[in-house]
């Protein structure tokens, strides 16, 4: 799935995550900001990578601002951002 435009999903409210996505520079680049980065940062990054893989996204810049969201919420927000930014190959 190609990301052809910038898109966002989620909010900055507690227990949510805000996700921005835009077309990449040849590969996926993921940045994560989180108040629990020390404990869960890598886990969040892995969850984002898994969602991108499931949706066959290979060239996107993704920024996640985590506000204490559970993994299922982060996954939902990334998926929403991808589907909002997608274009058919």
């Amino acid at each position: 799935m190609d990301i052809i435009k910038s898109a966002t999903a989620g909010t900055m409210e507690s227990s949510d995550a805000y996700v921005e996505i835009e077309p990449g520079n040849g590969k996926n680049e993921i940045s994560v900001e989180s108040v629990v980065w020390m404990q869960f940062g890598e886990k969040i990054r892995t969850a984002v990578e898994e969602v991108l893989n499931e949706l066959e996204v290979e060239n996107a810049k993704v920024r996640v601002v985590d506000r204490g969201a559970l993994e299922c919420v982060i996954r939902a927000r990334v998926e929403t951002a991808v589907l909002r930014g997608k274009g058919e190959k």
Binding site: D16, L70, A76, R77
Partner: protein, 293 residues
């Protein structure tokens, strides 16, 4: 057994992830009025992930999909049917054709999923004048229907009446829905009491609904859940009386008596039925076991 049904906004993670801890017998994940049109996609995915990943065993899950006059309802069903909500709540159900349209689509989806046909259920939300007048037709048009549900906010807007705390403006609709649902052999749930800070008002409103024959009541606030559960649970006096009725019936049979009286009143079939129902509810709720049997 559903006494309390708590609405939770479908795009609010903070509420959704706590669904199982709020004390309601069922939560209603709302994809309709609580979600703006440009967030329908986000809410649908968030609700799906909540149902997929969260432990929601402490309560039943109902999903309010979007109404059949929108472009969203089929996508709602596509996303959530695999996660088997207890029922789909169908807003703005005006007539049986609205229900049959959804039921037909559910059958198509069940085939695609290779699920047993007829295992997804629906609960029409009656919130228009037309819906009230068609209540029995709606309640009896499909085996998928588990209950009717009264929505008073939209209904009073449709009627052009003012929504009040004592609810006189919805007396007819409440009675009509109870009669229609019971005639069709399904449950019926009452509209939320919308003043979330009125702790006495919710008790009065829930008691009124119970006395009219409603099976349970919806809420828009976790704060109202315990009051609804209390009102729709049998009281200790009701349970005591129910056991006395069953004991009196048993003794009468042993003695070969026909008509019997208890506390100065004749015991007839409806009283026995009510006693059996009360005891069954008490057992289901774990309020009282069978120590009196």
């Amino acid at each position: 057994m559903l006494r309390s049904l708590l609405f939770l906004p479908g795009n609010n993670p903070n509420m959704l992830i706590n669904a199982g801890t709020l004390g309601a017998d069922a939560v209603i994940f709302d994809l309709e009025d609580a979600v703006s049109p440009d967030e329908k996609d986000a809410a649908r995915i968030l609700v799906r992930n909540t149902m997929k990943y969260m432990n929601l065993e402490a309560c039943e899950v109902i999903v309010r999909i979007n109404s059949v006059d929108t472009s969203f309802w089929m996508e709602d069903i596509n996303a959530l049917l695999p996660y088997k909500p207890l029922v789909f709540l169908l807003p703005k159900t005006n007539c049986k054709d609205d229900v049959l349209k959804v039921c037909g689509y559910l059958s198509e989806c069940e085939k695609k999923l290779e699920a047993e046909e007829g295992t997804a259920f629906v609960m029409p939300l009656i919130e228009t004048a037309q819906g009230v007048e068609n209540a029995f037709d709606i309640a009896s048009c499909s085996k998928r229907i588990k209950a009717l549900f009264l929505g008073a906010e939209d209904l009073t807007a449709d009627l052009g009446s003012k929504r009040t705390k004592d609810g006189r403006e919805i007396e007819y609709a409440r009675s009509r829905l109870v009669v229609a649902a019971r005639a069709a052999g399904v449950d019926v749930f009452d509209t939320p009491f919308t003043d979330v800070n009125d702790d006495e008002g919710i008790l009065d409103d829930a008691l009124l609904a119970k006395n009219l024959g409603f099976s349970g009541k919806a809420s828009i606030s976790p704060r109202h859940v315990s009051a609804i559960n209390r009102v729709f649970s049998p009281s200790s006096e009701e349970i005591e009386y129910a056991y006395e009725v069953m004991m009196a019936i048993k003794e009468a049979k042993e003695q070969g008596k026909g008509a019997i009286a208890l506390r100065g009143k004749m015991i007839d079939a409806p009283i026995v039925q009510r006693a059996e129902k009360t005891i069954a509810m008490a057992k289901a709720l774990g309020i009282r076991g069978d120590e009196n049997e």
